[in-house]
Symmetry: C2
Subunit: 226 residues, 2 copies
């Protein structure tokens, strides 16, 4: 299914057929793996995914989401989380970035051992730079924890659409309640919950919600005209 | 192009062929419109897009982004922003949600005028609920401003890929500098910059950066095992 078609046919499904799809662990993990082809800052991949399929756990999630019925109806749910300490993986990420050539380590003085040493010192320097970006800047850590997982969440919905699985993104939840019920550590931030399943058979095809006209949201060259 | 193929073939292009593509205003606005088919919380669509094509404005953006050469090379750039005051559109959004049936106004006592009045009072109640979600909760406003535009940013990259346009997401910028140079009002938060263009001809096909194995990022039913 074309990207454009997936974008046009996706709906935020407001009612699911209870247990309408059998979504096994492998199907869901494959969905997640495809979605994590999203880019991330410094390739830190500061995200986690909590898969909920068990009936009692769905009930617990329902209680955390102001009792939205679609939570209990969905075949499975994925709680997409961000990692405010994603920068702690900087050493590994820096090595991978140098290896795949995303940060040019510059010309080596001599080929062979020399250039490997150079790559290693470049990776160390890059890792330091990554850490310094987040270490003293809480806003940078929060931005990291929200924007990267959201990229994956969009992919999750598009890949699901392509595979005939309906979805609904849910941002209405009590964060403290969710943390308690699902033992989510402080370092992780729940960003959005993606409900997956089959649309309710009783519900007709949902209309597309109106989008704002471009002149309301697009600026050219600067925002002075705002 | 299939969603899966777009996800697999997308690269964070690290060098562009200077002015390699002619990306006109209409092409870019159409790209943005397709991408805004992303869902948003309460359909508030709390996002703005600043399109940069002018050579001097690219130079200014380059200065805001720690002098990353790809900024000057790109054919166009889209600064994707979030709106921390997106909830101010709650009245309009609530009306649209009731009209398109996303929030069931419940059975009307009588058909006709009665049910229209009911829908109107339901819209008012929903608008109040939306406002209360954000009014006293700064974290909710920040989450809104980062996660919704990030969904659109992912779509931008996928639609671009489908249309043969290479892209690179850039999160490395000085926010204060960006605000000053492009007159971005306080209420808007720059989330990510998407550079668009043709990959550098001198650069070979870029490798895919490694992704973390699933066992590092996926949990089932709760995070107690973390």
């Amino acid at each position: 299914m074309d990207v454009s078609e997936a974008l046009r046919s996706r709906r935020s499904t407001r009612a699911f057929e209870p247990d309408g799809l059998l979504l096994g662990r492998e199907v869901l993990e494959d969905l997640i793996f495809e979605a994590t082809r999203a880019p991330s800052e410094f390739n830190l991949q500061p995200w986690r995914f909590l898969v909920v399929r068990d009936r009692e756990r769905k009930q617990a999630l329902y209680d955390c989401c102001f009792k939205q019925e679609k939570i209990r109806q969905a075949s499975a749910l994925i709680v997409v989380c961000g990692d405010t300490r994603g920068w702690e993986r900087a050493d590994k990420a820096a090595e991978e970035l140098i290896e795949t050539g995303y940060f040019d380590p510059g010309p080596a003085a001599q080929p062979g051992q020399q250039s490997i040493q150079s790559a290693q010192s470049d990776a160390r320097a890059l890792a330091e730079r990554i850490k310094n970006t987040y270490l003293r800047d809480e806003r940078a850590r929060i931005a990291m924890a929200y924007r990267n997982p959201a990229l994956v969440a969009m992919n999750l919905m598009l890949v699901a659409t392509e595979r005939g699985i309906a979805s609904c993104p849910i941002a209405g939840f009590s964060e403290p309640q969710l943390r308690r019920a699902f033992e989510i550590p402080d370092r992780f931030v729940p960003v959005v919950i993606i409900a997956l399943g089959m649309p309710s058979l009783a519900m007709g095809r949902q209309p597309v919600k109106p989008r704002r006209p471009l002149f309301e949201v697009v600026y050219h060259e600067d925002m002075a005209s705002w």
